[in-house]
Symmetry: C2
Subunit: 416 residues, 2 copies
């Protein structure tokens, strides 16, 4: 008998009909001899609606109250899933993050999980019950209700799977798995059967929205095999595991695109030690999430510093950069919202030289100008003009053999 954690996102429990479909699938899994723990997000747009309600009430929103407000969304969906399970004859019991013993630090709105006790879940499983757990939430060491931030329900699911030593963690969403590229941008993109944790981490970091970065980190650190699947088709999805690619696997797993960032350039910065530090320290203090940074010192002792930030943080960033630019005697700042980041991710990169060269050549052959470059062991990212996004992504997808319909030949983890 396997223990499976199934996490259902907001679109999967968006209305009564979808909730009943989820209950049917949970019942199916349970009746096939598995123990099941279900983790749910809030229904559809309900979290957004709660935020809108709060905005309509007051512009002052203490974090503690906001956390309590938002956690109601998952509480509603967990009770409804339990009722739907009861309706199909499955004995189920719901637990809040607090009842499960998901202990977090005291940082409201983006708390980190310190410990998962899980005693009540273990007891209920021992009694043959399906457990339905509210995602996204925990209780702090100060006994306050906290939330885990964006993608928090994925983290709840993976953390619970780790604490319960589950055989796998299935993340149900509105796509059928992890794709070699975003199908809306690259029509020939295909679903991956398998990808490893490091690749998934790089993909999430590069802008893929399929799995939240923190949940993948958690899965890697605790070696929890994840399967990303669709609750609309129920077809087998993409496995995310620790398995290293074999020689037969393609070198590149996917092309990740991201248009959520903007570029800022500080022009003619005097070439003195400590200039960059002063700029990026101040941005960090204001919680501006700087992604790529490029600095090139020219021969005349001046340098341009360019970096990308989420468009959402742009307003805050601009104020800081303007003041720093004046302080350090820079010539001025420029800002570009029309950029796109394109990343190649693949564990095979580690052992295959020449990937970057091939990438740059492909882009050049397609008249795509590269504005910024950043690399890691298994990722190369470039920033290009937003207008070139589709051309660049499609040509790279083709050039690295991802169109072929060829799938991973490495053995898949056994489906429990």
């Amino acid at each position: 008998m396997a223990l499976i954690v199934q996490k259902y996102g907001g679109t999967s429990v968006a209305d009564p009909e979808r909730i009943r479909a989820v209950a049917e699938h949970v019942a199916f899994t349970k009746r096939h001899g598995n123990d099941v723990v279900v983790v749910v997000s809030a229904m559809g747009k309900s979290t957004d609606n709660l935020i809108k309600l709060a905005n309509d009430v007051s512009s002052v929103q203490p974090d503690r109250e906001l956390d309590m407000l938002l956690t109601t969304g998952e509480r509603i969906s967990m009770t409804l899933v339990c009722m739907a399970l009861a309706g199909v004859g499955i004995d189920a019991i719901s637990f809040t993050g607090s009842q499960v013993g998901i202990i977090t630090d005291t940082v409201h709105t983006k708390a980190k999980i310190l410990e998962v006790k899980g005693d009540r879940v273990r007891e209920a499983l021992a009694q043959g019950k399906v457990c339905v757990v509210a995602g996204f939430q925990g209780v702090s060491t100060d006994k306050e209700i906290t939330t885990l931030g964006r993608g928090g329900s994925d983290t709840t699911a993976v953390a619970l799977a780790a604490a319960l030593d589950a055989d796998s963690c299935e993340i149900y969403t509105d796509v059928t798995g992890v794709f070699s590229a975003d199908p809306r941008i690259v029509p020939q993109a295909r679903k991956l059967q398998h990808i490893n944790f490091d690749e998934m981490l790089e993909m999430a970091g590069a802008g893929s929205k399929v799995l939240a970065l923190r949940s993948v980190e958690f899965a890697r650190n605790h070696n929890v095999p994840i399967q990303v699947r669709s609750s609309f088709t129920w077809e087998p999805g993409t496995w995310v595991t620790s398995q290293e690619p074999s020689m037969e696997d393609p070198i590149i797993s996917g092309v990740v695109t991201d248009v959520s960032e903007a570029k800022v350039t500080v022009r003619k910065v005097p070439d003195r030690p400590g200039i960059s530090a002063s700029l990026f320290e101040q941005l960090a203090e204001s919680n501006v999430n700087v992604d790529m940074i490029v600095q090139n010192t020219s021969t005349d002792g001046n340098t341009d510093i360019s970096f990308t930030v989420p468009k959402a943080d742009m307003k805050v960033a601009q104020g800081i950069v303007e003041s720093v630019a004046k302080e350090i005697g820079a010539a001025g700042i420029a800002q570009d919202d029309s950029i796109a980041k394109i990343s190649l991710v693949g564990a095979g990169m580690k052992t295959s030289p020449g990937i970057a060269a091939k990438m740059f050549r492909t882009l050049a052959d397609n008249d795509v100008n590269i504005e910024m470059i950043s690399t890691s062991t298994i990722r190369i990212s470039v920033v290009v003009a937003a207008a070139d996004l589709e051309k660049a992504a499609r040509s790279l997808h083709t050039a690295f053999g991802l169109d072929s319909g060829q799938s991973y030949s490495a053995p898949l983890p056994e489906r429990k």
Copy 2:
């Protein structure tokens, strides 16, 4: 410095604008040197919406899950009230029933309060904060989230006021106080300045919806002065206290009308001991709430038994009554949905003979036929045809001097 508990019902926090108005009033009370504890209901129709959602998902609704579902409504409104308070510069903190330590028995959907700890509220008050508490909910001795049933938020407010030894408990609702009759039925009805607990209890029992019966019982047992007020006009409302009426007070405080019940008659019941017991025991076991019972034994050894039940319970009652009627050899059963109950309530009745006679004479003079009668020390109730409701209520209101605009001359409790 006084400690005031203010309870706001669903209509008082129905939308962001209403919530901000509540925050203004709480801030006003706080800035006038009072400590304030706010108890809130769920916003407007949100509890009904949650029930509808549950019905759409499944007809099987475990009580434990239903309780968890419904408690989210008050959690939402308490956080929004805190945000609105923060918006007007008042330091506020919200607490769930569980966080306040409202300990209940384990009967889900209608739990009874066993104890109110209130430690966190006391601490927060000592720090100068306004406390905002979710009404209607508690945590059971089994550590499960429970709800207190209909009118539960009133009970939360009164129980908290008792536990904190508050100076008064203000219940804000959509009417300006307790009236001498329902103004929709008796246009000349007027607001009472004062009424005592016993009268209020009888009024609630007779069908008045202003205050939930259990909250009044709680207030009487712990001697918590209540003021019923409107959050739409903020004008002084009706005080409900232990104060006995003085000689100058009118004998009758109000005419209470109720059209929520139906009448059942079991005809020609054999006149043997134990017949009534067997009938009403079975109704009680099925949680049918029997109100008035009339039994008249005729000279031929047969008797008719009539009783009233809430229309909502009629379906269940009918099945039981039909089976019992057959068992005991009764001639048959009759059912009448078109009845109205009219009650006179007044503490002065205890010392004034002839009230019943005057009531019956008034109804007779107005051609209103009395179908059933029941009395307590300070209440007389009659059942009449629903069509006679307005005529009966208005004539009684006039006959007992309630139209006059005369108000209580007894001294009012001092407003803190």
